[in-house]
């Protein structure tokens, strides 16, 4: 695409209808021809690439909040790792790119030649300083500090307590005291005083049981735990543990589901169908977004319901 864009800009520069357009194309060509532009381009792709997968994962329908906490942690670690060790490989990549596209390559340890400003007024520094410290590290640092700020409620007590429920690494984080505190402090409506005491015992027994149970010990996330509790029948033995797992799972992670529904709405209610009534939209959306359930309903059931909806004069049986 790079070559094609350059080519189009060249055409615009030569054949643009107004002088403004020609000047604009010229400016852009200059910018694209600079090492700095290519460097930032590659850097942003790397940084976005790190988090793209994570944000996709967070939007999954069955994502649980403990896992999301882990994913954010992973994002932080990877950014930190990129800051510590990935600069050299990025530099190499940018140099290769510039060679292919005939762009002047800078040497890391040369002194930086500031363009467009009086050299006397800028502090002398090497390219390494400029690109690594002032660009690469600064960008990552800004992201890291913003991450810590935005996700400061990792520190919120509720999530900290709930994290003890994480089944990964054979229930390494499991902590009975934390979990009983979670139940008594945040879910007092779901657990009576007596149940909180027996929850403690059930948690103790459960973790012993689960660590030695083949299909419970290898679990990664809470969604799996809840399903496995049912499959192994442990949900009946430890009903209070199951209840707590369900409550933590219920905590919402992303509103991506809402966005999915809106994209369905855009398909149903288009420019040509703006007069659609509210009831029709409700029914049509439900059937479109919950196809899985809608398909389990048989024609016979629909017809029976249809017959009973009103006083029908045409019998069907």
């Amino acid at each position: 695409m790079w070559k094609s864009v350059i080519q189009v800009l060249n055409i615009v520069e030569l054949e643009g209808s107004t002088s403004d357009q020609r000047a604009e194309a010229c400016r852009l060509l200059d910018a694209m021809d600079s090492f700095r532009f290519v460097f930032i381009l590659n850097m942003m792709i790397d940084l976005m690439g790190i988090t793209n997968d994570l944000s996709q994962a967070i939007q999954r329908k069955d994502q649980d909040i403990l896992n999301a906490m882990d994913l954010v942690l992973v994002a932080k670690l990877r950014l930190q790792k990129a800051r510590d060790s990935d600069f050299e490989s990025l530099w190499a990549k940018v140099t290769a790119f510039c060679n292919v596209h005939d762009i002047e390559v800078l040497q890391l340890d040369d002194e930086h030649q500031a363009t467009g400003r009086g050299r006397r007024r800028t502090q002398a520094c090497t390219n390494r300083h400029l690109f690594q410290v002032e660009l690469y590290n600064a960008a990552i640092d800004a992201q890291l500090s913003e991450l810590s700020y935005r996700f400061s409620d990792d520190a919120v007590q509720m999530l900290r307590l709930a994290a003890s429920l994480m089944p990964s690494d054979n229930f390494k984080a499991f902590d009975v005291v934390n979990l009983t505190e979670l139940a008594s402090q945040f879910y007092s409506d779901d657990f009576s005083d007596f149940e909180i005491i027996s929850l403690g015992h059930q948690l103790e027994n459960f973790v012993q049981d689960a660590r030695s149970h083949p299909s419970l010990s290898g679990l990664v996330c809470l969604t799996d735990l809840s399903r496995s509790l049912i499959i192994t029948g442990k949900a009946q033995i430890y009903p209070l543990v199951y209840r707590l797992v369900r409550l933590v799972l219920t905590l919402p992670v992303a509103t991506a589901t809402g966005e999915r529904f809106f994209s369905a709405m855009k398909i149903i209610k288009t420019r040509l169908r703006t007069r659609m009534g509210a009831d029709y939209l409700k029914d049509a959306m439900l059937l479109m977004v919950e196809k899985e359930l809608a398909d389990t309903v048989t024609n016979e059931e629909i017809m029976t319901y249809f017959q009973e909806m009103a006083n029908r004069r045409c019998p069907i049986k």
Binding site: W2, I45, S55, L147, P252, V253, F262
Partner: protein, 508 residues
């Protein structure tokens, strides 16, 4: 002794018919009758025969006239009488019938019953009646209503009453009585028999319509067309789909459209909507079964639709108690007048109440970061928290992640400048159709050259036609940051800008 017992048996006044039988039939029976005549009729028969034995007044002199009964009851009463037959209280010894006061005195004779099967005798009135003429209101009112007791002229009068032609009033009444007793000839039975065939056809027509509605709704297509009248070439998806059905299925074609009964084609717009509604209601039942009384979280988001109405989508996140699987299910979409927290709250509460969901089971709230949602004091989450303090709010994590990653990096001036530059490049290079065409053409040429020289591979999904997607098109004008978030994350084409940035930079 004999006299006593016999007269007891015949002359004792019967229990009167209870009011509910005599009054107009109660409403439910009426309604049911229109539904399935056969069943109800047999029910009435059972009732009628019960009423025969115990409650019908049999004495012709004191019984109620058929015309005095309610319309809906008459047939039933007639059938009841017919099943009992004519009232013929026969003394073996005719001397037991009372003498009249004429001279010489005369009396009714029991052997007349043998000669005239229709004859009835009323001990109360000491008069003779005609059973069939009573039932079917013959013109000869002496035998149907008043009673005949001029015994001197009796045989002559009986014959005269019977009439000589087959169309005499009496004979017609007799025929009507015989027909009424033949169940299979009854008009209701005839109708019912026809409708069992008709019902099969109705079923097939309805099923075809159900199939069509299901398919179209599933694919998000419109049911109706712009013009659906007879001259139209495109009658809308639904009718056109049925046309395909008719083409593929000769049996269906035989009973539908112009070949079918025009009063039950099952294709009217109202029917289409009702089928859709029936289906949706059944799915709603499934959903509420699935959720049961599980604790759940409310996820809500708003957006404007094509008709510029603000719509709020509500979803529920819960764990199915039986399977242990986590679901995020569609709950409702509501039109809200404005986006203030109070309006949203009312809309949510109304829907939950309407569908009978207990707000006390809410254990989580998931909204985006808009201030009307997350506000600490008057935000939606704060108001709901006042109602239910266990409804813990979580700001959408993926929104937060993107705000952190994209927003933050722009704090560095050169990066911010870079984004502005990208935006300009897109505007200049891909702005007009002409330039966009040139861009695509050159790009295609490059790809072709590379494929020929074997530098890149061909395969499914590779090297697709791309273009510079303008970030401003996606959302909120030219705010690149927001567009970037949404492009990469939510809605739009998910990987749009990332892909585009890598296209720009890739080896092409």
């Amino acid at each position: 002794m004999i006299h006593g017992s016999v007269s007891d048996r015949f002359l004792k006044r019967q229990r009167p018919i209870p009011d509910y039988v005599l009054q107009s039939p109660s409403q439910p029976v009426h309604q049911a009758e229109t539904h399935c005549p056969v069943e109800v009729r047999s029910g009435l028969d059972a009732e009628a025969s019960e009423l025969n034995e115990a409650t019908l007044e049999r004495d012709p002199g004191s019984r109620k006239q058929i015309s005095d009964y309610d319309h809906g009851m008459r047939e039933q009463i007639r059938r009841a009488y017919l099943q009992l037959g004519p009232y013929q209280p026969a003394w073996e010894d005719s001397s037991l019938y009372p003498l009249n006061k004429q001279s010489p005195p005369r009396r009714f004779r029991a052997d007349w019953f043998k000669q005239f099967a229709w004859l009835e005798y009323s001990p109360n009135q000491d008069a003779a009646y005609c059973f069939y003429c009573f039932l079917f209101n013959s013109s000869d009112s002496e035998f149907s209503k008043a009673g005949f007791n001029n015994w001197k002229k009796s045989l002559e009068r009986y014959r005269k009453h019977e009439g000589t032609t087959p169309n005499s009033s009496h004979r017609l009444a007799v025929a009507a009585g015989q027909v009424l007793l033949r169940d299979q000839a009854h008009v209701d039975t005839m109708l019912a028999r026809v409708s069992s065939d008709v019902a099969k056809d109705n079923f097939r027509r309805l099923e075809a319509s159900v199939d069509a509605v299901r398919l179209l709704i599933r694919q998000g297509c419109a049911l109706r067309g712009h013009r659906e009248g007879p001259g139209s070439f495109n009658k809308g998806n639904f009718l056109e789909l049925l046309k395909v059905f008719r083409k593929r299925d000769a049996d269906y074609s035989r009973i539908s459209s112009t070949n079918g009964p025009q009063n039950s084609l099952m294709v009217s717009p109202k029917i289409q909507k009702e089928i859709l509604h029936a289906h949706a209601e059944l799915v709603r039942r499934l959903l509420s079964c699935e959720q049961g009384s599980s604790p759940f979280a409310i996820l809500a988001d708003e957006s404007r639709d094509a008709s510029k109405k603000e719509q709020m989508v509500i979803a529920h996140r819960f764990v199915d108690e039986i399977t242990g699987i986590l679901h995020e299910r569609f709950f409702e979409i509501v039109h809200v007048a404005d986006t203030s927290a109070q309006t949203l709250l009312q809309a949510i509460l109304q829907e939950q109440q309407h569908r009978n969901v207990d707000m006390q089971r809410v254990r989580g709230l998931g909204f985006d970061g808009a201030s009307n949602m997350r506000g600490e004091f008057n935000g939606l989450q704060a108001i709901i928290n006042d109602l239910n303090r266990f409804a813990y709010y979580q700001h959408c994590w993926s929104h937060r992640l993107q705000l952190a990653l994209v927003g933050a990096s722009k704090d560095v001036p050169s990066i911010s400048m870079f984004f502005l530059m990208i935006s300009d490049i897109v505007n200049v290079a891909g702005g007009s159709c002409k330039r966009s065409d040139v861009l695509q053409a050159t790009h295609k040429q490059t790809v072709d050259e590379l494929i020929e020289s074997g530098e890149i591979e061909t395969g499914r999904g590779l090297n697709q036609e791309t273009n510079l997607s303008r970030p401003g098109d996606t959302r909120l004008g030219s705010l690149f940051q927001i567009a970037f978030i949404y492009d990469i994350l939510l809605g739009g084409d998910r990987i749009g800008n990332l892909l585009y940035v890598s296209c720009l930079c890739g080896n092409l």
